[in-house]
């Protein structure tokens, strides 16, 4: 019997607001412990939450970007549980009236377009962070993160493989980044993912027993964790046993899932409407305005790049991975004769350079306008493509205009016929063997002669012209 994998994801995304969701403390990663705190986010007696409108706006924008219906009337609820990182001993969240519902995300798996349903998107506050003493005798709480606005995104169990889960996450991240909702850095915890996974025989409608996996802190680990859990469950089922409903933790070092708690330990969070916060009532116009804040999304952009610039789907996929990269390419491609040339340079040289330099595209000193200029100089023959590569490297490091670099280093291509003819004559005289080979029909021999000219001009000679001149000289002789 073959088993079908069924995966649903629960994703927490920290919203890129200036301040926290219910107080005026800064929302900023990496500050010294307990420096972005106040009585409100520390849960001091007598404090009250006040909703940060920016968080609401980003939450709605996120729901809309995920094609959700946005509720015009929703509310906040309290999720009650004790833990030292939870200062009020309840988390303000949304229980039965989430801000957004019934959305979807489209992904491409291989050649297939897949639509993954979004069950709900809701707003809530983040908890603080526990730091355990190296000596194991005490724990410390950092409340900087307590009260940072989050959205929780819950997908339908529409995902059918670990790879699909990763693709879905990548798409989701791109959407959040495109909409300036979050920076989605998994390593900083601004995007976190838990997964539910179960198996069922192909053709069966009823879901199998699921397990929940937590602590998969990178895209790679999401895929690995799910692959591991899939085969663990498969082994159990093949052995004729039943999968137990459990919450598991992915352990990166041992590359295995570890039991956190079983079903019997399930919490009763005693949700109830937060009496300190009035209902969220939205006008149609307010929601409409959020819709206007959504830029062209990755899928649409990908399709447009393919159509408008005639680049392959693969290129379009790579170039739309982030909003900044897509805008860089867009700015370049629309001003060059052949967008594929721009695509090649950005996908090859530029991304390669960024990777080695460990930089993001928005940290690149080279502007799209300069890149357009460089492509123009190649196309009109001012520099050879070989020299262009070196100029490009310099541009990416220094941010200088290509013309400046070419001038400084005297790299202009030699296209003066007289000058090239003189050199070619010298080369022909010095290489009678190659001339002979060419004459006897070995067309390739011409390459050696051209190579000699290029060498003598330190690569600056216009190769097409050199080629023609040599052929003409030999034929004339």
């Amino acid at each position: 019997m073959d088993f079908e994998t069924v995966i649903g994801l629960e994703i927490h995304v920290e919203l890129a607001t200036k301040t926290k969701i219910f107080c005026n403390c800064k929302n900023e990663f990496g500050a010294p412990p307990n420096t972005h705190v106040c009585p409100v986010c520390m849960g001091s007696p007598g404090v009250l939450p006040v909703l940060n409108e920016e968080a609401l706006r980003l939450g709605i924008r996120a729901a809309l970007a995920l094609h959700c219906e946005v509720r015009q009337s929703s509310k906040f609820d309290r999720k009650n549980y004790f833990y030292p990182d939870n200062p009020k001993a309840y988390q303000i969240s949304q229980y039965d009236e989430p801000i957004g519902e019934h959305g979807y995300v489209e992904i491409v798996v291989g050649e297939e377009n897949r639509r993954i349903g979004i069950t709900r998107v809701h707003l809530e506050e983040d908890a603080g962070k526990l730091n355990h003493s190296a000596y194991g005798d005490s724990s410390y709480v950092d409340f900087n993160r307590a009260g940072v606005p989050l959205i929780e995104i819950v997908s339908e169990p529409d995902i059918r493989s670990a790879e699909e889960a990763r693709l879905f996450l990548e798409e989701l991240k791109a959407i959040m980044q495109y909409c300036l909702i979050s920076d989605c850095k998994m390593e900083e915890g601004s995007l976190r993912c838990d997964a539910n996974i179960s198996l069922r025989p192909f053709g069966q409608e009823k879901f199998g027993t699921k397990t929940e996996i937590k602590n998969m802190n990178s895209f790679r680990n999401v895929q690995r964790g799910l692959e591991y859990e899939r085969s663990r469950q498969e082994k159990i089922l093949r052995g004729g046993d039943a999968v137990e409903q459990q919450t598991l933790r992915w352990d990166e070092t041992t590359a295995a899932t570890i039991l956190m708690r079983s079903k019997e330990d399930a919490h009763d969070y005693r949700y109830f409407p937060d009496p300190d916060l009035p209902r969220i009532l939205l006008t149609g116009a307010y929601i409409e305005d959020r819709l206007k804040e959504i830029p062209e999304l990755p899928t649409d952009k990908r399709n447009r790049f393919e159509k408008e610039y005639g680049i392959p789907g693969y290129d379009a996929g790579v170039l739309t991975a982030s909003r900044a990269l897509s805008e860089y390419f867009d700015e370049t491609a629309k001003h060059v004769k052949d967008p594929k040339v721009a695509s090649n340079i950005i996908m090859g040289d530029v991304l390669g350079y960024l990777k080695t330099a460990e930089k993001e595209i928005d940290e690149l000193p080279m502007t799209p306008a300069h890149l357009v200029e460089l492509v123009g100089l190649m196309e009109n023959g001012t520099i050879s493509s070989k020299i262009a590569k070196n100029v490009l490297k310099d541009m990416m490091e220094s941010g200088k205009a290509p013309k400046v670099i070419i001038e400084e280093q005297g790299l202009v291509q030699i296209s003066d016929e007289g000058q090239l003819k003189a050199i070619a004559e010298r080369v022909i005289a010095a290489n009678p063997k190659s001339v002979e080979d060419y004459r006897s029909g070995k067309e390739k021999a011409i390459g050696a002669l051209v190579g000699q000219v290029m060498k003598e001009t330190k690569g600056k000679a216009n190769p097409q012209m050199v080629n023609q001149i040599i052929i003409d000289l030999i034929n004339q002789a």
Binding site: P39, M42, G43, S44, P45, G46, V47, L48, P49, V50, L51, R78, N80, F82, P84, P87, K88, A89, Y90, V141, D268, R270, Y271, F272, P275, D276, L277, P278
Partner: protein, 487 residues
């Protein structure tokens, strides 16, 4: 000695005429506390050094506002920056808040002189102030009876003339019932009229801060000082605050007053009935018309209240876990043990009882039957009042079914204790404004008349109470203590 109970305006006039200074008032307040609080035990903390300091600064100038230089005290569930705030609970012993409540800020900005923090039932849960984690407060009229609660310290301190006014908080009657027991005026404003920022939450959807004063005019003056929208409290309303003092015309001719027939069956004793009937007649004599109204869901109010309030409390009080502030139990083996020991040792019996009830009411599988049902009852009770207020301008009742009871009389029977709030609880469930104004004595103990108004119509409530007060002389009666003699 100065009579701090003569009225805020009278004290203010004396300050302006330079017959008195802010220091005189502060010294008088401190001296009375020194002399009588051994017996009354209204204060959890007396901030005399700060009060003297402030009085000194204020004495150098003629007072601007009405509250300038006037000594007052706060129920200990309102935060005071730098001054211990315990809510009458051991779990917050030693807790120094890093910020002041909105009402503290407002009163201090208007020159009020804080002399201390007042005793209360722990976390405002109780009707006698016997549930204080520290000591019970006694009634200045008779030291063997309770002052009511949970704002018992506030009512007792005002009745004993230790301060010119105090603030209390009212979740189910906690301002009005002690005001009634202590023969002073207590006003619960409309929910949302006064900012709750810095009021330590008991039941967030019911809690409201209000004045406890010697006279109705004082209540109007203090309400004026503390009312208004506060962006730090999302449940405070953006409504203009009317001039409450100028509403005190003394004239209630033509005012339509409702008597809810259901209230008269609620275990009111005969002597209370007699006092109440006299009050009704006096109001009629003042030109008001009296009408019977019906509030058909009254019988369910107490049950609804004792689900909603504990449910919210179970969540509000969960933060007292020993992690960040206040009391933490020693010798815990692990985290869970620390939570268990801290909360078991830090909270008193009544608080634990309500946390348990509330936790149960919110539990999965019970939520619909209890909390949700209680909220539906609440809606019905609110509607009862809305319908009644289509016919009348004001609804009246006794504030409590009896006068103050003996200390220890009801501590072993929480249900009987809960019944002392049957007239006040529906008002909180509906969010309405209501006042308790003294209306006579039964066996030497004061009785209170409750006047309930429409949403945000404190002006009518105050006007009627003021007219009634002028026509009777109950508010001018003071216990022996306030006059300087032994009770």
């Amino acid at each position: 000695m100065v009579e701090l109970g003569i009225g805020i305006r009278q004290l203010h006039d004396a300050l302006q005429r330079r017959e008195l200074t802010a220091t005189d008032l502060a010294e008088d307040s401190i001296a009375r506390i020194r002399e009588w609080d051994k017996d009354v035990q209204a204060f959890l903390k007396v901030t005399e050094d700060d009060a003297r300091q402030r009085a000194k600064v204020l004495s150098g100038q003629a007072p601007q506002g009405l509250l300038e230089g006037i000594p007052f005290a706060l129920k200990d569930n309102m935060t005071t920056r730098g001054v211990e705030t315990t809510c009458g609970s051991k779990i917050l012993s030693g807790y120094i808040p890093p910020y002041s409540a909105a009402v503290t800020e407002k009163l201090e900005a208007q020159g009020g002189n804080l002399v201390g923090k007042l005793n209360m039932d722990e976390f405002a849960m109780g009707s006698s102030t016997e549930n204080s984690g520290y000591f019970p407060t006694r009634n200045p009229w008779d030291l063997t009876v309770v002052p009511g609660g949970s704002s018992g310290g506030s009512a007792a301190a005002v009745a004993a003339g230790m301060v010119a006014f105090a603030l209390g908080s009212d979740t189910g009657g906690s301002i009005r019932q002690p005001a009634s027991y202590c023969g002073v005026v207590g006003l619960k404003p409309t929910y949302g009229r006064v900012s709750r920022y810095g009021l330590v939450s008991y039941a967030s959807s019911l809690d409201q801060i209000g004045p406890i004063t010697n006279t109705v005019e004082d209540a109007a003056i203090v309400l004026q000082a503390i009312a208004g929208h506060d962006q730090r409290d999302s449940t405070s309303v953006r409504l203009e605050v009317p001039d409450f003092v100028s509403a005190l015309s003394g004239d209630i001719r033509g005012l339509k007053i409702g008597l809810p027939k259901e209230y008269l069956d609620l275990g009111m004793d005969e002597s209370m009935r007699a006092v109440f009937d006299t009050a009704v007649n006096q109001l009629r004599a003042l030109g008001a018309s009296i009408h019977e109204v019906t509030l058909p869901h009254t019988a369910y109010a107490l049950s609804a209240y004792y689900l909603i309030a504990p449910a919210e409390a179970s969540s509000n009080l969960a933060r007292y876990d020993g992690v960040r502030y206040g009391f933490r139990a020693k010798d815990a083996d692990n985290l869970l043990d620390m939570y268990n020991k801290t909360r078991s040792q830090g909270f008193g019996t009544e608080v634990k009882r309500r946390i348990l009830i509330g936790t149960y009411a919110l539990s999965s599988g019970y939520y619909d039957a209890y909390y949700k049902r209680a909220q539906q009852v609440r809606t019905l009770i609110r509607r009862d009042f809305e319908e009644a207020f289509e016919e009348v301008d004001l609804i009246i009742s006794p504030t409590a079914p009896t006068t103050a009871f003996k200390l220890g009389e009801k501590t072993s029977d929480p249900l009987t204790m809960y019944l002392s709030d049957i007239y006040t609880i529906p008002v909180n469930l509906a969010g309405l404004p209501a006042i308790s104004v003294p209306c006579g004595f039964i066996s030497g103990l004061p009785a209170g008349l409750q006047m309930i108004g429409k949403m945000f119509d404190e002006a009518t409530v105050l006007r009627a109470a003021h007219a009634y007060e002028k026509a009777t002389d109950w508010t001018s009666r003071r216990p022996q203590i306030a006059k300087g003699g032994r009770a």
